[in-house]
């Protein structure tokens, strides 16, 4: 019963060890381990739709080779009479030669085409190794469905997908989906959904020079421009990996979370390299570097009132630092050296959280730039920005190119203090200084004439 509850509460928070969830009984399930099975009748909702979508006509979906060896005919135990007669004698040598030649040719062809039997083919466009799949799933039968890679990255209108599902006792137990898509500009909903999932404060840089981030439930990696092409200000094409619903990969055991996150990091690099190989692009991403510590909830009191998220000059709202009995919390990206970083505060982040995000990478920033001049009221100053629904976006030009600053709120309650308006100018100024943009002055908000 509790498992089903969790399954349905998609809006629940990603981080569960905070006091807001303290009332819930029992430890949270480990990523894809002893999660209680959903009732039989609840499964068909999720599973068959996924299957039918993945196996849509025109797709290159193929059933995963569960056991390729079984398909091979077994050799006869001992040559029968006619075969022995054929092999013996003068013509025997010719027959043997022909058979050997044919086998050689067939083997050579199979090897050339990369279709050798007896070697398990890697999943999801031949990229995800069996070893990594084992680290992402506990025991059970793993089924894979994939769409053709050819559509991916050509235009923001298309994306492709591969899903891995663990089934046990005829029930779907866990699902991981892999997407390859170009992030879309001029799409507020898409920007909201993607940033919420993939730029949350629990994401840390993949390390090295890898243009991507990872948490215990999500991972993404941008494909190189040299592979996907496009104009300089086109948003990146990313390979993203989602294990379970948002937040479901939480685990009370930090060591377990760290292990699972490392598996996610390896998986997203393998997938990106698989896509590069499949698209015949040159170069391979190296293995992930050392990942920063796992991000935990902090008490809002960890920083002074006028240093929200540790940023000088950004005042925390009074309710956050007040003395009432709300269970408040905050979390910030532990490693700000990546393409983006964020800080979040609230009681339950998914319900009432306010998130402050800085996107330093110019390509990634380009995907939210149109939102900075499409909404209202407007902000001006050294850069430009606007309030776009429940978020505000400001864009400044730094030495690296455009840098985007976002203030997003989850709750729809319009308070006196609307963080998207009230926090943006101070947040931009403080962050611009921190990321090396120098002084960026923000004016506004102004209603458009």
């Amino acid at each position: 019963m509790s498992g089903e509850q969790h399954r349905e509460k998609d809006q629940m928070s990603e981080e569960k060890q905070g006091s807001a969830q303290g009332a819930r009984s029992g430890p949270q399930p480990a990523p894809d381990t002893e999660r209680p099975a959903p009732r039989q009748d609840s499964v068909p909702d999720a599973a068959p739709s996924a299957e039918s979508e993945a196996a849509a006509p025109g797709s290159a979906a193929e059933p995963a080779p569960e056991s390729p060896a079984a398909a091979e005919p077994r050799p006869a135990p001992r040559p029968s009479g006619w075969l022995r007669r054929l092999v013996r004698g003068r013509s025997g040598a010719a027959v043997i030669g022909a058979v050997v030649g044919a086998l050689l040719a067939a083997g050579g062809l199979a090897w050339q085409a990369g279709e050798l039997p007896f070697t398990s083919r890697d999943r999801c466009w031949g990229s995800l190794s069996g070893d990594t799949v084992d680290r992402l799933f506990s025991e059970g039968e793993i089924r894979t469905r994939e769409l053709s890679l050819r559509s991916a990255g050509r235009s923001a209108a298309y994306r492709t997908e591969c899903r891995l599902q663990r089934w046990k006792d005829d029930e779907l137990k866990w699902e991981i989906s892999v997407r390859v898509q170009q992030l879309a500009q001029f799409d507020g909903g898409g920007a909201r959904a993607w940033t919420r999932q993939f730029l949350s404060p629990v994401m840390v840089p993949l390390g090295g020079d890898l243009p991507g981030m990872v948490s215990a439930g999500r991972a993404w990696l941008a494909l190189p421009e040299s592979c996907v092409g496009g104009r300089r200000d086109d948003p990146p094409t990313v390979v993203s990996l989602s294990s379970g619903r948002l937040g479901s990969s939480d685990n009370d055991d930090p060591a377990e979370r760290r292990r699972y996150r490392a598996a996610m990091a390896d998986a997203v690099v393998e997938l990106a390299n698989g896509v590069l190989a499949e698209k015949k692009c040159r170069g391979r991403y190296p293995e992930p570097g050392e990942l920063a510590r796992v991000v935990d909830r902090q008490q809002p009191g960890a920083y002074p009132k006028d240093r929200l998220c540790g940023l000088k000059g950004v005042r925390a709202p009074s309710w956050l630092t007040g003395k009432d009995d709300y269970a408040r919390a905050m979390r910030t990206t532990g490693d700000v050296s990546g393409l983006a970083h964020s800080c979040e505060y609230g009681r339950d982040f998914e319900l009432d959280g306010v998130r402050l995000t800085t996107i330093e990478d110019p390509r990634l920033a380009s995907f939210v730039i149109p939102l900075g001049y499409s909404g209202n009221p407007r902000f001006h100053g050294d850069g430009f920005g606007s309030v776009f629904g429940d978020m505000s976006v400001y864009v400044a030009t730094c030495q690296t190119g455009p840098v985007a600053f976002l203030v997003q709120r989850e709750d729809s309650l319009v308070r006196e203090h609307d963080p998207t308006v009230a926090l943006l100018p101070d947040y931009v100024s403080a962050e611009a200084k921190r990321v090396g943009c120098g002084t960026v002055r923000v004016t506004g908000p102004e209603q458009p004439k």
Binding site: A93, I96, G97, V100, G101, L104, A105, G108, W111, Q112, D209, P224, E225, S226, C227, R232, D233, L276, K280, C281, R282, G283, R284, Y285, P286, D382, G383, A396, T397, C398, Q399, T400, G401, P402, G436, C437, G438, V440
Partner: protein, 368 residues
């Protein structure tokens, strides 16, 4: 004589088995060479064997087997004596159109110590650290563009007086505009292959081959966005009092932790733009060696960290930034130097400090 015939048939069988085996081995070897594309005959090669004429994807046109098989085009190559430490070596490959159009497409390569003279070196740097080139991945000491590329050989290949040896490749056509040699990947292949050949010939090759494993960066300058306040190169402080009639365009190259480049082009003659200025901040190992000997070891003056020389038309400063020796470099043409706002020394100081701030290190130059 049944025994004799048995012996004869046994011998015959052995022989046929031997022939069969021989055929099988040959077939296997043939299959292998075909599959791996290592057929040993009929390969033209250029530049001391570094470049081979090939067929397939990712082959620059000049070396593509299929581009010169028509009657109209003819491939030719030239090369000097092989590279040796401290001695200049050059080579080139050209495709010439024989049908009378005088169309000529060429790749010219050089393995040589960087220029000794300060002016020549600064011109050389302005060419090869151009914003249209992107740094090689995996920390390799080189930059690759579609029209030119440079690679710095290891310290063991330095000249006797301590100057680095650089491998350069450049596309040349009959027109004055720079000519593309191919994609970044194709140019990187040419560059790294020649660098390996040159290092081996000079006896200073490292154990690890020069190889770019990670994906290459896009190589073209970003001229799309200007900075707040109209500074060039999006670098606060790199400011010039220019008006709309002065045709200067800045192109931003790499902006990374170990390399930042920006070129300014004088586009008064649109068909023949002239490189008017270069700003660079370099801390990638070996790339910093390209600046060796440009300044003596003294301080540029009060308020400057590290060593260098700051003049009217150029500035050079080497200071430790974020724990790494970092070279800041600026070179201006006479017009830009005369219009630096407020003056060239302070423009260089402000630009260097802006970059130092981005890199998270304390100011390297006096504040204004």
């Amino acid at each position: 004589m049944p025994a004799g015939s048995a012996a004869v048939s046994a011998a015959r069988r052995r022989r046929s088995l031997a022939i069969l085996l021989g055929i099988a081995v040959l077939a296997g070897a043939g299959l292998g060479t075909w599959a791996t594309g290592t057929w040993p005959f009929d390969r033209q090669s250029y530049c001391w064997g570094a470049w081979e004429v090939r067929e397939g994807d990712r082959v620059p046109r000049v070396l593509d087997e299929n581009s010169a098989d028509s009657e109209d085009e003819e491939r030719s190559g030239e090369q000097s004596a092989p590279p040796r430490k401290g001695r200049r070596a050059t080579c080139s490959v050209a495709l010439r159109d024989k049908s009378g159009s005088e169309y000529d497409e060429r790749i010219e390569a050089e393995v040589a110590t960087v220029p000794r003279g300060s002016k020549e070196r600064r011109d050389w740097l302005r060419t090869y650290l151009d914003a249209d080139s992107a740094p090689l991945p995996d920390g390799l000491p080189g930059l690759v563009g579609r029209t030119r590329a440079v690679f710095v050989l290891p310290e063991g290949c330095d000249s006797a007086d301590g100057l680095p040896t650089a491998v350069t490749v450049e596309g040349v056509r009959t027109s004055p505009l720079p000519a593309s040699m191919g994609s970044e990947e194709e140019v990187a292949d040419l560059l790294l292959s020649l660098a390996g050949t040159a290092a081996r010939a000079s006896g200073c090759a490292p154990e690890e081959p020069f190889e770019a494993v990670s994906p290459l960066a896009r190589a073209d300058a970003d001229d799309g966005l200007t900075a707040q306040g109209g500074e060039l190169c999006r670098i606060p402080g790199l400011r010039f009092a220019l008006d709309a009639d002065d045709h200067y365009d800045s192109g931003v190259g790499a902006v990374r932790d170990d390399l930042q480049t920006c070129s300014v082009l004088d586009t008064a003659d649109v068909r023949n733009p002239v490189r008017a200025a270069l700003f660079a901040a370099v801390s990638r190992p070996r790339l910093t060696a390209l600046f060796t000997g440009l300044a003596d070891g003294g301080s540029p003056g009060k308020g400057w960290r590290g060593t260098g020389e700051v003049g009217e038309e150029h500035g050079l400063l080497t200071a430790t930034c974020a724990g790494r020796p970092t070279v800041f470099f600026l070179q201006l043409d006479a017009f830009l130097a005369a219009h630096a706002d407020p003056d060239p020394r302070r423009v260089f100081a402000a630009a260097a400090n802006s970059v130092a701030d981005r890199l998270g290190c304390p100011a390297v130059a006096p504040g204004s």
